[in-house]
Subunit: 319 residues, 2 copies
Amino acid sequence: MLTVSAPGKVILFGEHAVVYGEPALVGTIERRVRVGVRRLDEKVINVYSDAIGTWESFTFEDLHETNGAFRYVKRAVSIAFEEVGEKTGLELRISSELPPASGLGSSAAVSVATLKAVLTLLGKDVSNSRLAALAHCVELEVQGSASPTDTAAATYGGVLFVLPGKGIERLNVEEELPLIVGNTQKERSTKLLVAKVRRLKESLPEVVDPVIRNIGKVTREARRCLEKGELTHLGELMNINHGLLEALGVSTPELSRLVYIARSAGAEGAKLTGAGGGGCMLAFARERYDSVLEALSKESQALQASITFEGVRVEGGER
Amino acid sequence: MLTVSAPGKVILFGEHAVVYGEPALVGTIERRVRVGVRRLDEKVINVYSDAIGTWESFTFEDLHETNGAFRYVKRAVSIAFEEVGEKTGLELRISSELPPASGLGSSAAVSVATLKAVLTLLGKDVSNSRLAALAHCVELEVQGSASPTDTAAATYGGVLFVLPGKGIERLNVEEELPLIVGNTQKERSTKLLVAKVRRLKESLPEVVDPVIRNIGKVTREARRCLEKGELTHLGELMNINHGLLEALGVSTPELSRLVYIARSAGAEGAKLTGAGGGGCMLAFARERYDSVLEALSKESQALQASITFEGVRVEGGER
């Protein structure tokens, strides 16, 4: 079975402010989605998911659907078929080290890995920029709207600087970034949280606009630190970014608690990551990685999530 | 016994930023220090404190000391004697509704009430501006350095707008401000916390300076709301101010927890008040005052601390 993997991601800096034109920094983490694929003689697409613990069988017709547990897989297979100009029966096996719907980019990783696996199986070599564009289409079709960031991250890997309207730049970062994700496992809606910040911004623009611009400044400063390999202030910048997100009203008691647990256990910095209102937080710990991991594990679903510089990858197996 | 009272205070907005020239808003709370005084024939000053549960006897010579549990009382009596040009034996009885060393201005209230009590007993009528100046001297002598804010607040009462270098303005606010103070009872050093913010500001000026200026903007906006009697956004402004203080690194797990407990119980806004690093937080609740008070009482030493518009006051009793 031909196997392809793609990494998940965390937002390192700049969430919410990116909605208003400020930059964001995103890093891919060594937590991957793996998609195995082989040809079937029958004209069906059988999808097995270790992640969900279930399987389904689809006709070629079913691939046009944008709903169901396998909606990203269906659209990715369909778009891969269009790209190659060929359809075939397939068996797909999906496993994931990423908790779903947690803001860690699992749907983008599924889309990228599925596309790459099917394209490779069918002998079609595509550039990374083409792959990222196709995966972005998958997310757009399923979600209605989607940022190109997650799919670009899953494709290229590494640390990406996202400047809305100006594109996505892969940074030349080589430092190890030992990160831990704490997951509150509280569901939240990104849409509702973006709307909440918009309401606050509209009711108190004189004080909220500067908070958003300040997040942009923190993100640019963090980029400078990362590119120079000067990580001394990176933790402080995360703490400042977290405070500014508190000011925007998107933190929660649980997120705030995990952030303080991480800092007390020795993290150099900790912040919520993603939309807030639940979901995940992020801790940066070079010296006391194990004690931070242990402290966060006691109180949440904690993941080792250090930055990886490798994006989508053909793991091997027969075509 | 002639009794004089003076109120404690909370910082409503602008702590820490005020160190860098931004304005602060301070409000006096209906929690008072009471000082009773009567003449003694012997040349001694006997001080009884219900607050500390102890008493001491001083000679006129002892009044020059700036140490000991009664250091503010000793200096206040001494300065009152100088002001009048007369010394006499005294009995003083002190009671307080303010927890000591919690950033609620108990030392300023003690200084103001003691001065006013002794001056009134000795038949000397002084203006409020003179009284505030004398009380500021007491704090300066005991502490080495002191802002004139707390002593001005204890003297005048109400809501004060403090603009460093430009003076203190008493605002024309008439709205009721139902506040609750949650006290972590964790000791902190204002000096160390001010130094901590200074270090952060020096190491990352591009991102910390805007946080400080943003706190100034929040404070000015809060002043506008208070003067117009438009309290709708006051809670949101408190929440934003708290987030910005989190960004400056002066909150703690305990303060953050109490802030979220208050918000969850229905507070319109909640923030740490004072230097942070322990000490107190403040909740604003018009609709759900009782449930916020109850929730904070379970987890801390909670005080009803609504804004009072009355400063130092001769309560009565014989001269």
